[in-house]
């Protein structure tokens, strides 16, 4: 094995108005030909900065402050920009995260590939085209001869990522930097792409730097791994060694936070707590506010609190929510005069029940209709057929649900993206107190204020958070606020739509812990939606699998993960990268 790339003591600085930010500090790593070197870490760890630094594409005003990047012996730091540009694509190439955005939408695949090939090799158009066709075949694209003249939007996500890889391979580079190459893909496709990368690496003897936040992916295909945290190397070595017997506490904690596919944990333990807490935050209190006050308030006037112990078991009680033959069709509008289309069925014939105090996990890939299901329940979309019953009474669908309908309070939702689910222009106090005031749950403002502070404490936030704006918080903290907002409405039923998929694993673990705690304390019924089977396993009592808008399988969690019945369920379980040791 020849050493392709040797990074030593690399420091990258970004001057900002708060001072100079050290994106990388003294990072050293090396990559050999025919080897996949994983870079893993949470957001802000500096993984992508390593890639950009190697490519010479550090975003202004970032710069390499010190250290060397030796590529086949040649130091790339300080290289003339024209020379660097010749090097790019030719010797070093790159694969980006999102195949939806990394291809030029206006040019055909052929145009983009031929241009790239002819940029670096003196060949005529025909030869270049033939090379492009061969490459696309190599990456596993079907009907290459005809499809090469298609535009990017005509390909599915997985196919597109194959095209991206073919493009990166156009000039037979020695080193490829793959920045989260499978993060935007469904698990079933992810596995194929990872296999492809592995094959190409071996067959072409290419060195690959694989940047990812997913330890499962690292475990799956990398030869060696470097763990980064806040711009510094935490641990580096062969994948087996680092993941098998992590030496550093951070690595251990990181691995502990990853939800396990093979077993259910009561709680995540040993969590890294990175969230900075300013000192004065902890001293700022609203008089009389405490987590206990919030718990008491939430439990008062709450039927569950009184009845849950009285009834013997979950299964004997009537379902809190039951759905029969739900069907949702999109795009079948009669508005156009000339194009009455029949629309796309996002959901068809879905029936399910949620028992009181139960967590029902909904799992499926993108396009499976899992979010549509949630929206149909809360009334955001209009079902075209089927009926829903909530707490023994008919739940009017979509627009027929009046604004004052009691279910509007009783059903609450936690969204996927905490950056868009909180109104950035309102204070946290305003955000949380809005449902309280809207539903008229308190008698006066001081009580509202006390309650807001208490609920914040309940979800693990300092009370002072209430005077701040969402943008002053990290993603995990925002998600806590979102949970608090859902909680103060005193809901019977909570829908969590991918509540952790936008978060780092350690934060995900915290939020999952929080949800578990709250569910236990308040006996909430939860519909928990996720694409991540491991997360579902940690959270759900029962599992529902959706595929293309249809219900594939319903089973108790343990039995599902131990012996899935349907072939699609088996496929999903098989393809999900996981930590199994």
């Amino acid at each position: 094995m020849t050493q392709l790339l040797a990074i030593s003591n690399l420091s990258v600085k970004f001057p900002t108005r708060f001072g100079v930010f050290d994106a990388l500090e003294g990072v050293s790593l090396d990559v050999n030909a025919g080897e996949i070197h994983g870079l893993v870490g949470e957001s802000g760890a500096g993984k992508s900065t390593v890639g950009s630094a190697v490519m010479g594409l550090l975003q202004s005003p970032g710069y390499v402050a010190s250290g060397e990047i030796r590529f086949t012996g040649r130091n790339l730091v300080g290289l003339d920009s024209d020379d660097y540009h010749r090097l790019r694509g030719d010797r070093i190439s790159m694969i980006f995260q999102d195949p939806q955005t990394s291809l030029n939408p206006l040019l055909t695949i052929a145009t983009q590939m031929i241009e790239t090939i002819r940029q670096h090799r003196k060949v005529d158009v025909h030869t270049a085209r033939q090379q492009a066709i061969n490459l696309l075949k190599e990456t596993g694209l079907n009907d290459v001869d005809t499809r090469i003249d298609d535009y990017p939007h005509q390909f599915s996500g997985g196919m597109r990522q194959r095209v991206v890889i073919a493009l990166a391979l156009c000039t037979e580079p020695d080193l490829i930097i793959a920045d989260e190459p499978t993060t935007a893909l469904d698990v079933s496709v992810q596995k194929q792409i990872l296999d492809l990368i592995r094959t190409l690496c071996t067959a072409r003897n290419i060195g690959i730097i694989l940047i990812t936040h997913d330890i499962g992916v690292i475990n799956e295909i990398t030869d060696r791994v470097t763990v980064l945290r806040a711009g510094r190397v935490v641990e580096s070595g062969t994948t087996e060694a680092v993941l098998g017997s992590p030496a550093e506490p951070y690595t251990k904690a990181l691995m502990a936070a990853v939800p396990r596919l093979d077993k259910r944990l009561e709680r995540f333990k040993n969590i890294i707590d990175d969230e900075p807490t300013e000192l004065d935050d902890t001293h700022w209190k609203v008089e009389g506010a405490s987590a206990g006050y919030a718990t008491d308030w939430l439990l008062t006037n709450n039927e569950r609190a009184h009845t849950s112990d009285a009834l013997p078991s979950v299964s004997e009680r009537p379902a809190i929510l039951s759905i029969q033959d739900l069907e949702v069709t999109f795009g079948a509008s009669g508005l156009g005069w000339f194009n009455r289309s029949h629309g796309v069925k996002a959901l068809s014939g879905v029936s399910l029940q949620v028992m009181p105090g139960e967590v029902l996990g909904i799992v499926g890939e993108s396009g499976s209709g899992k979010s549509t299901l949630a929206k149909a329940i809360v009334g955001l979309v209009n079902p075209s057929a089927g009926r829903m019953t909530f707490r023994d009474s008919e739940l009017p669908p979509g627009r027929q649900r009046t604004r004052a309908h009691p279910s509007r309070r009783e059903i609450q939702m936690v969204f996927q993206d905490p950056y868009s689910s909180l109104n950035n222009r309102k204070t946290v106090e305003h955000i949380i107190s809005e449902p309280i005031q809207f539903y008229g749950l308190t008698d006066n403002e001081s009580q509202t204020r006390k309650l807001v502070a208490s609920v914040l404490e309940l979800v693990g936030m300092p009370q002072r958070a209430m005077v701040k704006y969402p943008h002053q918080f990290s993603g995990g903290q925002r998600q806590r606020v979102a949970v608090a907002r859902a909680l103060v409405a005193r809901p019977e039923f909570l829908i969590c739509d991918e509540p952790t998929s936008a978060l780092d694993v350690s934060i995900q673990a915290q939020i999952l812990n929080l949800l578990k705690d709250l569910q236990q304390t308040f006996g909430l019924s939860i519909l928990f939606i996720s694409h991540n089977l491991a997360v579902i396993r940690q959270m759900a009592d029962r599992v529902v699998v959706l595929q293309n808008g249809q219900l594939v399988e319903t089973a108790g969690t343990e039995s599902f993960f131990n012996s899935p019945q349907e072939s699609y369920s088996q496929l999903l379980l098989r393809e999900t990268p996981s930590l199994t040791f």
Binding site: L57, R88, G89, L107, E115, T171, N339
Partner: protein
Amino acid sequence: MLAFVLRRLAQSIFVMLAVSLIAFSLFRFVGDPIAQMVGQETSIEDQENIRERLGLNDPLTTQYVRFVSNLSQAEFGYSYRTRQPVSEMILSRLPATLELGAISLVISLIVGIPAGIYTALKRGFLSNALLVATLVGISIPTFVIGIFLIYLFGVSLGWLPTFGRGQTVALGWWQTNFLTVSGWKALILPGVTLGVYQLTLTMRLVRAEMQEVLKTDYIKFATARGINYRSLYLNHAFRNTLVPVVTIIGLQLGGIIAFSIVTESVFQWPGMGLLFLESIRYVDIPVMSVYLVLIALMFVVINLVVDLLYFAIDPRVRLRGSHD
């Protein structure tokens, strides 16, 4: 795609009817056409007779129905002022306005687009100078620019004509400026006056869009593939700015037509805008109303062309369209 065009045409008829109604209600407020038609010695009775004969005493609805039904039969009526057929008057003025508009559009594009790309890519003195210069451009009222240019190039330097179209050549009914030296010379000052504002908008828009596109993944990916900068900026980046740029340019064409009223007035450019101003002055209702409807028609056509250009530019639109 045919369905799309048909749908747009249906909407267009609605737009045109609305504009014609507005145009029509405008009449009553512009002034008294009769007083402008007759000499000072014409008696009040004679004026009343004319009013009656022109149908101006009919109820407004009757007048509107008559107007629309005439329009639909391509009957545009006669000018109150010159008594010529309105269609002929407008047709004879149309080439002047279109050629002026075309020149100013060309000026705004051939200067605005490269300048926009340049300022998006480079920072530095020239870039800042361009940005400031164009700011000055949109900060000065069109008529001040026009009069200033006339004074400088027409009077002080004597290089260019101060008014009119110069020598024109007839191609059928179309009088063109493009075939004579004096015609070209006459186009320069009004073309620049009218183009400056659009140029600024084009440049700023191209700049903003370029800056956006340059931050996209596919440009980063293309850079990572070592695509040469020329192709990167023009073929990859600029092409992707075209959809918004074409949209805005379509809208600007409307602005050019609207602002040509001022420019034509300053340069005595015998186009439709000047005709329109004269018509307002003489309360020449038939000319005004047909002008307005024609402008609405132009807008409709421009909007349609812009939408069709999307088909040409963006395969996503094109291919979705063909599936319908």
